[in-house]
Amino acid sequence: MLEASELMVFYENMLALNNVTIRCGEQRIVGVFGANSAGKSTLMYALSGILLDIQKKEVMAGGERITIAGSIRFMDRDIMDLKPSRRAKMGIVLCPERRRIFNESTVLENLKIGGYLASATQKKDTLDYIFTIFPALAKLRNRLGGFLSGGEQQMLAIGRALMAQPKILLLDEPLMGLSPLMQTILMRATLEIRRQRKIAIIVTEQYARPVMPIVDYAFILENGSAVLEGTRKALMDNPDVKAAYFGV
């Protein structure tokens, strides 16, 4: 469904992604694990096209020169040069790192903004769906986004991304700074979303333990290169992975 091959991203002369090839099939959950600065967020920015936007801003401000090479294909179409807004229209929706909630809008408004691309019936349908899968949000629908707790904000961010009717959802570090209980709730919800909405999901995370049980396939990034990949079972049995990403 989504396939990025030989993706290379340079920030000035620094290599942020080195020849990374990753795939995600229909209705699959794919995990991308790696430490800080492994290139997880850069990968997400490249897939969602935000990187093109950052690139342009840097050119205008006379900052770093960002070079992107390789190819990204989505549903048999080359989307390498497509703007982020066009990619979102095609169904690649990013739920950004640090959530990026609209602090001064209410929960309901946040969700409605996310539904810009959806039709009225889709919007209504998705809204109901979000409130059933995240019941906590239903009670808070008129509260300002900035007054939510971290976990609630993450729910809201995922909900907002769902409102855009994704075919593939990119979750960038959805568990950052959350309690183990909240992590479990969110991961269970992610699994439900895949089953009920029939979409593909790519999750990045530093600490693999809470995410590993729900992924079908996973990639491990180190210093910008994909050093290891495999099905959940293959990776869980790998002693190096166990030591590095499970803290065993």
Binding site: E12, N13, A69
Partner: protein
């Protein structure tokens, strides 16, 4: 690397001399000494030679005005990019400094070489005192408040009819001789420019930049943010007052138009064109904008149209600013590499 796609990218590499000369100990040859000193010498000698190169009194006067605006532009750049206070109060500083110099000169008969330093210190103190209540403000709020100050002062003088009211103060001494006037402002530009560059690299400058980046963290480190902001405003206001004082002695007249918004806006435009945060950039910006504005006088009313077009072109196509662009070209070279 095993890519078969023959793709290229342009890479930027610091020049070898730049890498070595970043530590002063590593200067090895005359070539490297020249690499560091030539741009500075060109600037110093170029600015010093400017009054000599100008044909006639009119253009020499323009150079004085350029330098006077350069003080303001540097003070704006310093406040905005090293302390994080975007000040639209350039006109307030100019007006305060100008009126103080004018009053000292006409009432007590002090010569310009006394009134200018006095206006600098007194004016900076007055401006800082008046601005202290606004210092906790940040961003656009500080800009709005500082925009109100010059308007407030101008109306106050007009309504109360003090300091000559709308007529202004006439009969102020000029500099003893045009060359003194020229070289006083030109040398002051260089002194302030290199002084500020030193200042922003001292520990004090470090704290000021930290205030810009994250004032809460500075407060948490046990420093009084408002005090540091007041100090920075004092420095910037001093430079603004200096330009005001020079201005009244150049024009031999002080009036409400010294509080005009030109003095707030032109320095900002100069900073944007020259490259913000470089301190040299604003001087360069003034060197372009002020003479451009004079040259465009021939077009009459269309002058503002052309002036705006120049500004728009710069901001759209080189929003980084001339100096930032120039420094990058000087310190780095580019080449194509295979990925």
């Amino acid at each position: 690397m095993t890519t078969d796609t023959a793709q290229r990218r342009k890479e930027r590499i610091d020049r070898g001399i730049k890498v070595r000369s970043d530590g002063i100990y590593a200067l090895l040859s005359w070539r490297e000494l020249a690499y560091l000193s030539v741009p500075r010498l060109v600037l110093i000698l170029g600015i010093l030679a400017l009054p000599l190169l100008m044909p006639g009194m009119y253009w020499q006067r323009v150079i004085s005005i350029v330098c006077i605006y350069a003080f303001l532009a540097m003070s704006f750049d310093f406040l905005a990019h090293y302390v994080g206070l975007v000040s639209l109060g350039g006109a307030f500083f100019v007006g305060t400094g100008g009126y103080i110099a004018a009053l000292l000169n006409t009432t007590f008969g002090l010569p310009p070489l006394v009134t200018i330093p006095a206006a600098l210190i007194l004016g900076a103190a007055v401006c800082t005192l008046l601005l202290i209540p606004c210092l906790p403000l940040r961003g656009v709020y500080f800009a709005i408040v500082t925009l109100m100050y010059p308007l407030f002062m101008a109306r106050l003088i007009e309504a109360l009819d003090i300091f000559g009211g709308t007529d202004g103060i006439l009969g102020i001494d000029s500099f003893t001789n045009p060359w003194v006037e020229q070289y006083f402002v030109v040398v002051m530009v260089l002194v302030l420019l290199f002084g500020l560059r030193r200042l922003v690299n001292t520990d004090l400058g470090l704290v000021l930049r930290a205030v810009k980046d994250n004032d809460q963290a500075v407060r948490a480190s046990g420093m009084n943010v408002t005090r540091y902001k007041a100090l920075a405003v004092f420095i910037a206001a001093g430079m603004g007052c200096l330009s005001g004082a020079c201005l009244v002695h150049t024009y031999m007249w002080a009036g409400i138009s010294q509080f005009a918004l030109d003095f707030s806006v032109l320095p900002i435009a100069a900073t944007v064109i020259g490259g913000s945060g470089t301190l040299v950039g604003p001087v360069l910006g003034c060197l372009i904008l002020v003479p451009a504005s004079e040259l465009l006088r021939d077009f009459g009313t269309l002058r503002i149209v052309f002036y705006s077009l120049i500004l728009v072109t710069f901001i759209v196509f080189r929003s980084e600013g001339l100096m930032v662009y120039g420094q990058r070209k000087y310190h780095q070279f580019q080449r194509w590499t295979e990925i």
